[in-house]
Each structure stands twice: as structure tokens, then as C-alpha cells.
Symmetry: C2
Subunit: 144 residues, 2 copies
DNA sequence: CTACATGCAAAAAGTTTGCATCATA
DNA sequence: TATGATGCAAACTTTTTGCATGTAG
């Protein structure tokens, strides 16, 4: 599940994009982040390695990675762009109080429809489930 | 499935919020909109009835309605806040070819988990499911 | 009459763009 | 060397906030 610098070079060749130092560091750092970081969070981390990097470059390259299918965009109940590095089949638990998002394996979620076709003829490829609710931390706080 | 002005008054009483002219008009107009309008779209419509209304008021009240559970927030592949007025529990079918989005009733979707708590202690309020697949129109195109 | 809602304008947050400079292929 | 990437700053979009005024309960 880990990509070496060589693999990143290959990935870039596959997608016809240039291998720059910024992209390499950006990719490695994102690869090592878990969850669904925002561009600002990624920027903060990358700046430690490349202090001169600009936020615009981070945005441009996150978009590039998403368009290339290297990472996936997650549009959750945040107001901001979020990226997903985890490629295993899983779903998301979104806390309605603190807006935190965590992953849950499809198997741990339990029952899911197994139709191939829905009424109306829609052909199912996969499900993307957001579980909306309250995370353990906020449940603890909630007990006013 | 339609709410009269009287019902809105009751809804407000239930949630302990004041019945203002702005809220009443906002509610009625949103009720009459289908799809997943953005705050700007709602604002444009409401301004026709109350030209002096401010965008801030629209935002404040949309949030109020969402927090009260009168409407639901929808996180789609937009970058902006979207609201859902359809009060029947339903989910979304997203076509991976043409990107069209249509609704499907929760009942028609079939089996869905019924946990109150997930492993890890997350307290489930509701599920928001995107069914990714191919719509009937694109299936037809695909064969040809 | 009091607490809360509104409108306005300013500010904050998030994201995109234009352009001169620089690095990769 | 030429194309495309970067950094910077300004512009833009979306959303939030503070405050004076207005209105529902």
C-alpha cells in the first residue's frame, strides 16, 4: 500500500504530468496522512519540508491528483475540499456536532443492499454511505 | 406532505423559535423548491417576495431550519451548502457516466443497517447513501 | 417591555487566477 | 530550449459576525 519515489515517477508518467520536487513531497506527505485532510492541513505539513511552497501550488496539485484518480475527493459535511488517501472499501461516520469524520469498514457497517439493479433500472456499481450521528467524544460532552 | 402557514407556526413552537414574516416566506419558498438549492438560489427567490431581505438572514435561517431538523443538509459534489426539502427519507443515485443525480426512497433502496451504535461507539442518527452506478439512459447509450 | 430577529457592512474563510520566474523533460 | 510548474499577490466566492434597529411574544 506504500508507494516509493520510483512509483510516484511512474504514476506521473502514466498521467503525463511532470515530476517536480513539490509534487513528490506533497504526494509522500499526503500518502502518510490518514483521515480526510483539508488543503490547509496538507499545506501546513508540506511547509515543514518546503517552507517556500505556496498554498496555490498545494491546491493546484491536489486537484491534479484528484483528476488523475491518484486520490479521491470526498465531499462531506465540511464546507471545504477534503481528500481521501485510503483505497480500501469503507464508508464515513460524520459527527453532526463537531463535524469530524472517521472511516468504518464496509464489513463493520453491517447490512447493505445487494441489488444489482434498483427500481427504475439504475445499475448499481457501489455504495458511498455517510453515517450521520454523534461521535463518542461529543456524546461525552453532550451530557450537559 | 404540504405544510400550511398554521403548520409552520406549530413547527416553530415545537422548536422554540419565533414566527417572523421572513421565516414564513423563506420556509414556504424552500418548501416549493425541488432539488438541492444553494443559499444564493434560495435568496434570489425570496428577494422577489421580500426585496429588503438580507443574505445573512437567509443563511441564519437555513442553518436554523437544518439544526431544528426541519430541512436536512445535503453534502453533494458541490462546494457549497445545499439543503434538501424532500422530507421523505430517501437517498441519491449518482450516475458515474453523466453525473446526474436522482432520488430513491429509502424503502425502495432496500436493506440498510439498523444499528443505534456502531463499533467504536458512534451513535447513529441517520444514513445518507449515494448509490454510484449507471442510469438507465447511459446504460442504453453504452450498449450502442 | 424584553429577548430575540433583522439588515447592513465589514471581516473571515476558502479557493482561484494572472503573471513573472524557474525547473523539468 | 520549450513547455509547463511554481510563488506571489490580488481577486473572487462563500459564509460568518458585530452591532444598531425593529418586532414577536
Amino acid at each position: 500500500m506504500e508507494f516509493s519515489a520510483t512509483t510516484f515517477r511512474e504514476l506521473c508518467q502514466q498521467h503525463g504530468i511532470a515530476v517536480t520536487h513539490q509534487r513528490q513531497v506533497l504526494f509522500e506527505i499526503m500518502q502518510g496522512m490518514h483521515g480526510h485532510p483539508s488543503p490547509e492541513e496538507v499545506y501546513a505539513r508540506v511547509k515543514k519540508k518546503i517552507p517556500a511552497i505556496s498554498l496555490a501550488t498545494v491546491y493546484k496539485n491536489i486537484h491534479l491528483f484528484v483528476e488523475s484518480g491518484i486520490f479521491r475527493e470526498v465531499s462531506m459535511h465540511h464546507g471545504t475540499l477534503r481528500v481521501e488517501m485510503n483505497s480500501r472499501p469503507h464508508h464515513h461516520m460524520v459527527c453532526s456536532m463537531c463535524k469530524s469524520i472517521s472511516d468504518i469498514d464496509e464489513a463493520d457497517l453491517g447490512l447493505l443492499p445487494s441489488h444489482q439493479k434498483l427500481p427504475g433500472g439504475f445499475l448499481v456499481e457501489r455504495y458511498a454511505v455517510d453515517v450521520i450521528g454523534i461521535c463518542p467524544e461529543c456524546q461525552a460532552k453532550k451530557i450537559n
